[in-house]
Symmetry: C2
Subunit: 213 residues, 2 copies
DNA sequence: CATAAAATACCAACTGATTTGTATTGTGCA
DNA sequence: TGCACAATACAAATCAGTTGGTATTTTATG
């Protein structure tokens, strides 16, 4: 089909220098992929698009200055042919949805395997959309209780509730979901707060965030 | 001094596979450094310490299962000679303090430059402690408003309040601190919530966390 | 100096969560 | 069988923050 091998040209945009360096080196091992530029933020990326036209952009969502989504929008407005894969540290449902809605071609977690990264990059380059399939979220059984939590001796139900609280459910919503009285939810929540020695919803949220439960 | 060149042996522990791969490759370019093992979580790391004794461990703080600090404690209890550099995505004062207090030898942000990484690794290997110097925190003037915030057009005062909210101050505490009426604080807060389009304190907290303001 | 924006202040109604109680029922284990 | 614990349910008091108003003073800018 092709006489000359067309390389897949890529620009990476991420403010984490180590990450970008690593990714760069990792991709250098692939004969069909060429990193033609790197950028530490959205502005840099857009600037380099003035002179360079990659097939694909790997775009971190959390960047200082210009938000990844703003950059995405710009790219899709001005260079609709360029494929964009959003990179994000955490598996956040709404970010994936947002990326999809705003025209990204793919979405990768930063803890993805090398193989997955390459597979997604190549698929997207060929015009496919690649997004993580959302895990069935709201089944009442929590995935696996984090071993770190063990020290606090939360009961099964309490651990389960934490999963909902993590998803920003209100007490009423949890009660509805689990077919419980809101009083029951309040009781569980009270016990959680006691066991974790926390004082208010924000502290609980920080606990959840910090330990990435 | 040395007839055979003693390489600096390193184990990396981080659940972000891409990051670890990248870091690994990056370090492979350094003749005096040898990555003898990698681990995707604390358990794996501790397990590999049964058979391997590195000079240095690069240890991510946020890992699933076993928290980075728990791992740190274990290492320092059982293998006090092994140097440990904590890795963290964000510049969080209390994490740095905690790392220091719990015996870590260094602390690096994941967005550090390659040069800084190597410098810190080598310094720590030679017995030095390397921690980021803390910025002066609680003066009422915010350090520098993150450029990302600009799109929301927060005023100076509003941006300032965000710094306190980030530190989990209540409205009353902020009022006291800034010699304002609590009503004033509530007004500012109301405007912040409107501008950021958020509904409750937890959402605000998540916003702050997510964008690391 | 005039005008707009920012900062300040207040109020009332409301929402959601916390705290401190009590109490009943179910369940697993010795 | 009996005990401890988990899970359920309820209620009243309280607290922190939100919402939607209004209103005055300060400050920056054309």
């Amino acid at each position: 089909m092709e006489s000359t091998v067309e390389k897949l040209s890529v620009i990476i945009a991420d403010d984490h220098t180590l990450f970008i360096n690593g990714l760069h080196m990792l991709l250098q091992g692939e004969p069909d992929i060429e990193v033609i530029s790197i950028a530490a933020n959205g502005k840099e990326l857009l600037h380099s698009l003035h002179t360079k036209t990659p097939n694909l952009v790997l775009l971190d969502i959390n960047m200082p200055g210009m938000n990844g989504f703003d950059v995405l929008k710009r790219i899709k407005d001005y260079y609709p042919k360029i494929k964009v894969i959003m990179l994000s540290t955490y598996n956040e449902e709404h970010l994936i949805e947002k990326a999809k809605a705003e025209g990204a071609n793919g979405y990768l977690f930063k803890n993805a395997e090398k193989a997955e990264l390459l597979q997604v990059m190549r698929s997207v380059a060929q015009g496919q959309l690649c997004f993580p399939c959302k895990q069935p979220v709201v089944n009442s059984m929590p995935n696996e209780p984090d071993p770190f939590l063990k020290q606090f001796q939360l009961t099964k139900r309490e651990t389960e509730l934490l999963q909902f609280i993590k998803q920003n459910f209100t007490n009423q919503q949890m009660a509805d979901h689990l077919h419980l009285s809101i009083y029951t939810v309040e009781t569980h929540r009270k016990n959680i707060m006691q066991k974790l020695n926390l004082k208010n919803p924000v502290e609980l949220n920080r606990f959840i965030m910090q330990y990435n439960l």
